[in-house]
C-alpha cells in the first residue's frame, strides 16, 4: 500500500498519481484564499522540526513568502534546503531566547508561526527557558517589528488533568498565557499526537508495538485522536492566512481510538498481527521514572512526563475550523502506514568498507579472519555484481553487522528468519562459497568438531540452544527497528 495511492483513492480524486500529497494540500489552500490575510511573510520558528519541515513544504508549494528563524543555517535538513533553493525564503540565523541580534528582521505585517519548542527529555529548566522565555522574547520581538498575527503551536497536553511530572505541559500552558496576555493578535493551536511518515512519536509507539509483548502503561482505555502531519501543516498554513482567531483551537485527526486499539492499529498498518498487550501499573512506573530522572535522564528510554499520554484523554475539542477540514484529513490507517520501504540504489564500491565487512562476517562465520584470496574474491564479486536496490533497514543491518562478530551473529540470526532473501544473507552465502573453494581454508567447512558420536549430538544441541538465544536477542534488538522501517516493502 502506498500512501499517495490510497489517499487519491480515498479522495476519489481525478488527479493522476504523479501528484503528491503536498501539492494536493497546497491546492486545498486555494479555495481558502491563497495568501489572503497574509499581508507579509510567514515568519516561522522551529522550521527544522518534524512539523516545521512539512509546514515549509506546504507553504512553499503554495508559493507563500517565508522567513525561517534557524539556529544552524549550515546544517539545514534537505527539505528546507530545497525550499530555500526555490526562492522566496529568507533564512535568519539566531537563537530564540536571544532576540537582540535578529529582532530587526521581523517585518511589519509578518505572520509569526511559532513551532520551536523543547520537547522530550529536556529538563524542567530547559522547558521553562525555551518554551516560556523563548515564546515571550519572540512575542516581544514580533510586536516590536510590527507583526500582524502570532500563531502559537502549543499542545493538547496543556489541558491534561493529570500533568504529574510533566514540565513540558506546564511550560506550554505558561507559554499560552504569555501569548494570550501579549500585545499581538493571536491564534493558539493545540495539536493532538502528530503522526505520519517517520513521525517521532509514532516511532516511539511503533517500537513498543513491535515487541513480541507490548507494554501499555495504565489500563489502555485513554483515548487519543492522532493527526497526520500533512493535515496539521495544511491547517497551520491555512490559519496563518486567516485573520487572527484570538482563541485556542484544538486540532485532531479523523478518529478517536483507545491506546490499546492504537497499538493494534500500528501493528496492523505494518502488516503484523494484533499486538499482545501487557498492561503495567502506571503510577509506580511514573514515580520510579521521576525518581531516576534527576540522575539518569539522558539514558532513560522515556520520561515520567511522557507517560501522561497513557494517563489522559488526548482528544481535540471540535471546532468549526476543523469541521470545515474534515473531508481533507488522512484516514488514520493511512497515516500509520510506513512509507514503502525506500529502495536505495546499489552502494558505491568501497573497498575498505567491504574489507571490514568481510572480516567481521568471516570472524563470525568461522572464528578466524578471511584469507587474502577470500578477501579478493569478496571484493571482486561486489565490484562485478553491485547489489541493490535494497531497503534502508537492510543497509542498517549490514552496517550493524560490520561492527563486530557478535553484531554479525545477531544480524545473521535475524536475517534467516525475517530477511532470508536479503542482502546480509547474500553476503554470508558468498563468503561461504569463497571459504569452500579457498586453497587453505576449505577444510574448515567440512571438518567435524573433535569427539564425534554422542559428543557431536550434544554439540549440535548446544548449537541449537545458542541459536534460540541469539534469535530471541535479535528479535528484541532488531525487530522493532525493522518494523519501524516499514516491513511491508522489504520482501
Amino acid at each position: 500500500m502506498r500512501r499517495g495511492e490510497v489517499w487519491f483513492a480515498a479522495q476519489g480524486s481525478s488527479l493522476s498519481q504523479a501528484g503528491s500529497i503536498v501539492s494536493l494540500h497546497a491546492m486545498s489552500l486555494q479555495p481558502m484564499g491563497g495568501n489572503r490575510g497574509l499581508g507579509g511573510r510567514l515568519f516561522i520558528t522551529g522550521a527544522s522540526g518534524y512539523v516545521g519541515r512539512q509546514v515549509v513544504a506546504t507553504a512553499s508549494a503554495a508559493a507563500l513568502p517565508m522567513a525561517l528563524l534557524v539556529r544552524a543555517p549550515a546544517s539545514l535538513p534537505p527539505e528546507l534546503r530545497a525550499a530555500v533553493d526555490q526562492g522566496g525564503v529568507e533564512i535568519i540565523s539566531g537563537e530564540l531566547c536571544d532576540a537582540a541580534p535578529w529582532q530587526a528582521r521581523v517585518q511589519p505585517g509578518d505572520v509569526v508561526l511559532h513551532l520551536a519548542a523543547a520537547t522530550g527529555k529536556a529538563t524542567a529548566r530547559e522547558h521553562t527557558r525555551i518554551n516560556v522565555e523563548g515564546t515571550r522574547s519572540l512575542a516581544q520581538a514580533a510586536a516590536a517589528g510590527g507583526a500582524a498575527h502570532f500563531v502559537l503551536v502549543s499542545s493538547i497536553a496543556t489541558r491534561f488533568p493529570d500533568q504529574t511530572h510533566y514540565p513540558y505541559a506546564h511550560a506550554k500552558s505558561e507559554a499560552e498565557r504569555c501569548v494570550r496576555e501579549g500585545p499581538l493578535p493571536f491564534t493558539i493551536v493545540r495539536p493532538t499526537l502528530v503522526v505520519g511518515p517517520n513521525a517521532p512519536v509514532l516511532q516511539g509507539f511503533a517500537l513498543l508495538a513491535g515487541l513480541p509483548i507490548t507494554p501499555v502503561f495504565g489500563d489502555g482505555q485513554r483515548r487519543i485522536q492522532p493527526i497526520d502531519v500533512n493535515d496539521l501543516a495544511a491547517a497551520l498554513v491555512a490559519l496563518c492566512a486567516e485573520p487572527p482567531a484570538g482563541e485556542t483551537l484544538e486540532l485532531g485527526g479523523p478518529e478517536r481510538v483507545t491506546i490499546d486499539a492504537w497499538m493494534h492499529r500500528i501493528r496492523g498498518a505494518r502488516g503484523a498481527g494484533t499486538a499482545r498487550l501487557l498492561h503495567l501499573p502506571l503510577v509506580p512506573i511514573r514515580s520510579l521514572l521521576a525518581f531516576l530522572e534527576p540522575l539518569l535522564l539522558p539514558v532513560l528510554p522515556l520520561t515520567a512526563g511522557q507517560l501522561a499520554t497513557f494517563a489522559n484523554d488526548g482528544v481535540a475539542e471540535p471546532s468549526a475550523f476543523m469541521n470545515s477540514r474534515a473531508g481533507t484529513l488522512h484516514p488514520l490507517d493511512i497515516s500509520l502506514t510506513p512509507p514503502v520501504a525506500e529502495r536505495l540504489p546499489p552502494t558505491p564500491f568501497d573497498a575498505p568498507l567491504l574489507g571490514d565487512e568481510c572480516r567481521a562476517l568471516c570472524q563470525h562465520l568461522i572464528g578466524a579472519p578471511p584469507s587474502d584470496a577470500m578477501l579478493a574474491g569478496y571484493l571482486e564479486h561486489h565490484r562485478r555484481f553491485p547489489v541493490g536496490p535494497f531497503t534502508r533497514f537492510e543497509n542498517e543491518l549490514i552496517a550493524f553487522a560490520r561492527r563486530s562478530a557478535f553484531a554479525s551473529a545477531l544480524a545473521d540470526a535475524y536475517s534467516v528468519r525475517f530477511l532470508p532473501n536479503g542482502l546480509l544473507r547474500r553476503k554470508l552465502v558468498l563468503l561461504l562459497a569463497l571459504l569452500e573453494t579457498d586453497p587453505e581454508l576449505f577444510p574448515s567447512v567440512d571438518a567435524p568438531d573433535a569427539g564425534g558420536g554422542a559428543i557431536a549430538l550434544m554439540r549440535l544441541m548446544g548449537r541449537g540452544a545458542t541459536e534460540v538465544g541469539l534469535t530471541a536477542l535479535a528479535v528484541l534488538w532488531l525487530g522493532p527497528r525493522h518494523l519501524l522501517s516499514g516491513r511491508g516493502g522489504d520482501e
Binding site: 540470526a413 544473507r425 576449505f442 548449537r463
Partner: protein, 536 residues
C-alpha cells in the same frame, strides 16, 4: 552394406547407440547435431581436494569465471548443482522459443546430449515395466547386454534389489562402496525381513561407471570428481561412443547443424532435413531415411514444424511423460560428528525398489551419500543462521544423504506438446503438463513408508526437507509418438517408424508408450540399438 548414408539427428544416448549399431552393421551414417563440445579435462590425476589445493584459481574452477555456479539466497528456479565445467551441456531453452505450463524442461545441444551431465543410473525395465509396450523383456535383453558391453555397467547381480532388474550381459562387479553406503547396507542386512514385508528392497545401484578397464578406458580410481566431470572417462557419457563412431570412416559427424524441420514430399514423406548453422546459413540434406534422436521434445518440435511448414496445421501431441522426482534428504545418526571421505565415487551407489502393489506404484529410489557437492547451497538451505548451519553441517556432512525417488508416469491427454505461431511466420513450442489426479495421494503413501524404512536403518528424514521437484526436472521425457499396433499418424510402429511420414524413425524416448519409475536412459540406448538392428 555401405551405399546411401542414413541420416541421424542428435548425438545423445539415443543417437550414438543407434549410429554405433548401424556402423556395426556396415551402414554409412551421417549425423547432424548442434554438438557443443566439452572442454578438455584438466589435471586428470588430481583428486577433488587436490584441485582445491593445487589449481592456481580454484574459485574459478568450482564457482566459474563468471561465478555461474554460485548459488545465492535469491537465486530462483530449480537447483541442479551443475558445475561451471558442465554448463556447456545445457542450452537455455529451445532456440526457436518455448512456452511452458506446469513443466520446466531442460534441453541440451551438447555433443553427447543431456547425458553428458547425467548421473549414470542404468536400470533395465522388467516385464511389468514393459506391460504397455510392444516388446517384452526377453526381446530387449540382448540389446541391454550389447549396450552394457559397449559402455560398461557395474553393479550387483545377486543382491535383493537385483530381482527387479532382468538379467543381461556385460555387467561388471560393483564399485568399491563408500563408508556411508557400506554402513547402510550393513544395517539393511539386519532389518531385511522388515523391508521385505513392506515390499521394499535395498541394493547396489547399476551405474555406467567402470569398475574394470574397458575398451581402453580406465576403471574408476575414486578421485571424487564425478560431479565436475570425470577426467578419465571411467564414468560413461555418450561422447565416448560418439568418439568411437568418429573413428569409423563410414561415419560423418556434422556439428553446428540445428535441424529446424524436414522437407516433405508431396506424398508426405521426408525428402530432406533442413538445418540452420550458426552463421545463419541453411543447409538441406537429402535422405531416403531419417532417424530423429534429438531428444523427445526437440524431436517433437522437428516433426511439428515439418508439418506446419508443409502447409498443414500442426497437430497437438498428447501424452508427454516425465518421472516425478521427490528429494528426501536424510541423516544417518551413526555418522554424526564423523569425518567424511572426499575421495570416493560421487554418484549413487545404492538404490531401492519399493513396490506397494498397484500397476504404476513401483517407486525407484537412488541413494546418494552426499560428499563433495558444493557446500554453500546445502548450508544455506538449513533453517538456521549461517554460522549455526555451518556448524551443524560440519558435523552432519558425513551423515548426510539424499534419497531421490522416481515415480512412474503414464500417457494422459492433458499433457501436450504443440506449436503456436509467433507472428513472423515462425512458431514456438508449447508444453503443458498436469500431474495425475491421484499423484499426491500415491506419493504421500510411499513417502510415509519410506521414511519409516529409513528409520529402521538408523536414518532420519525430516519431513520439511522432503521436496517434490517440478515436472521436467527429472529430464526423463517420453511418450509423444507412442508405439502401438495400430494408431493414428502420430504414433509409431514397434520399430519407432512414424506413421505420418513412413520414412522417419524416432529412436529416442518419443515412442515410449509408458514410463516406468526406473531411469530411462539405459532403455533409450537399448531401444535405439534394437531399432537399428531390427528395422535396418
Amino acid at each position: 552394406m555401405s551405399g546411401e548414408a542414413i541420416l541421424v539427428v542428435g548425438s545423445g544416448p539415443s543417437g550414438v547407440h543407434f549410429a554405433a549399431t548401424l556402423l556395426e552393421k556396415g551402414y554409412r551414417v551421417r549425423m547432424l547435431d548442434v554438438g557443443n563440445a566439452r572442454p578438455e579435462p584438466i589435471e586428470p590425476e588430481l583428486s577433488l581436494d587436490g584441485l582445491k589445493r593445487e589449481l592456481p584459481d580454484p574459485r574459478g574452477f568450482f564457482l566459474g569465471d563468471d561465478w555461474e555456479a554460485l548459488v545465492l539466497n535469491d537465486s530462483a528456479g530449480e537447483y541442479y548443482g551443475f558445475p561451471p565445467g558442465k554448463q556447456y551441456v545445457f542450452t537455455p531453452a529451445e532456440p526457436l522459443g518455448i512456452r511452458t505450463q506446469g513443466f520446466e524442461p531442460l534441453f541440451s545441444h551438447a555433443a553427447g546430449g543431456l547425458a553428458e551431465a547425467w548421473t549414470g543410473g542404468s536400470y533395465p525395465f522388467d516385464d511389468r515395466d514393459l506391460a504397455d509396450w510392444m516388446i517384452d523383456c526377453d526381446a530387449l535383453a540382448p540389446y541391454y547386454g550389447r549396450v552394457a558391453e559397449r559402455i560398461g555397467i557395474s553393479g550387483a547381480v545377486d543382491d535383493d534389489l537385483a530381482q527387479h532388474f532382468p538379467v543381461h550381459a556385460g555387467i561388471q562387479p560393483a564399485l568399491e562402496l563408500d563408508r556411508h553406503s557400506a554402513l547402510l547396507l550393513e544395517r539393511y542386512a539386519g532389518v531385511r525381513d522388515r523391508w521385505q514385508r513392506a515390499n521394499a528392497r535395498l541394493g547396489r545401484s547399476r551405474v555406467a561407471t567402470l569398475s574394470q578397464p574397458l575398451h581402453g578406458r580406465q576403471a574408476c580410481h575414486r578421485s571424487g570428481r564425478c560431479q565436475w566431470g570425470c577426467p578419465t572417462d571411467a564414468f560413461y557419457t555418450p561422447s565416448v561412443t560418439l568418439r568411437e563412431c568418429r573413428e569409423n570412416e563410414r561415419f560423418e559427424y556434422l556439428p553446428d547443424h540445428y535441424v529446424t524441420h524436414l522437407a516433405l514430399t508431396g506424398s508426405g514423406a521426408a525428402a530432406a532435413a533442413v538445418a540452420r548453422r550458426q552463421d545463419g546459413s541453411e543447409v538441406r540434406f537429402e535422405a531416403n531415411r531419417v532417424v530423429l534422436a534429438a531428444g523427445t521434445l526437440p524431436s517433437a518440435r522437428i516433426v511439428l514444424e515439418s508439418i506446419a511448414r508443409s502447409g498443414d496445421p500442426a497437430p497437438e501431441l498428447v501424452g508427454l511423460m516425465d518421472n516425478r522426482q521427490v528429494l528426501m534428504p536424510f541423516v544417518n545418526l551413526r555418522l554424526l560428528g564423523r569425518p567424511f571421505d572426499s575421495e570416493s565415487y560421487q554418484y549413487h551407489q545404492l538404490a531401492l525398489g519399493f513396490d506397494p502393489g498397484g500397476a504404476r506404484d513401483y517407486v525407484h529410489g537412488l541413494i546418494t551419500t552426499l560428499t563433495t557437492a558444493l557446500v554453500h547451497p546445502v548450508v544455506q538451505a538449513l533453517p538456521f543462521s549461517m554460522r549455526t548451519s555451518l556448524g551443524m553441517f560440519r558435523n552432519i556432512h558425513a551423515a548426510l544423504a539424499l534419497l531421490n525417488l522416481n515415480f512412474a508416469d503414464d500417457r494422459r491427454p492433458e499433457n501436450r506438446v504443440g506449436l503456436e505461431p509467433v507472428g513472423d511466420g515462425s512458431h514456438r513450442m508449447v508444453i503443458a503438463y498436469q500431474p495425475a489426479s491421484d499423484e499426491a495421494a500415491r506419493m504421500k503413501r510411499s513417502l510415509k513408508s519410506l521414511r519409516r524404512l529409513l528409520l529402521s536403518l538408523g536414518c532420519v528424514a525430516p519431513p520439511p526437507m522432503t521436496r517434490a521437484r517440478p515436472m521436467g526436472a527429472s529430464v526423463h521425457y517420453a511418450g509423444t509418438f507412442p508405439m502401438c499396433e495400430e494408431g493414428g499418424d502420430y504414433t509409431t510402429d514397434r520399430d519407432g517408424r512414424l506413421r505420418a511420414f513412413g520414412n522417419v524413425w524416432l529412436a529416442d524416448g518419443s515412442s515410449f508408450p509408458s514410463l516406468p519409475a526406473k531411469n530411462l536412459t539405459f532403455t533409450l540406448m537399448a531401444n535405439a540399438t534394437r531399432i537399428a538392428e531390427e528395422a535396418f
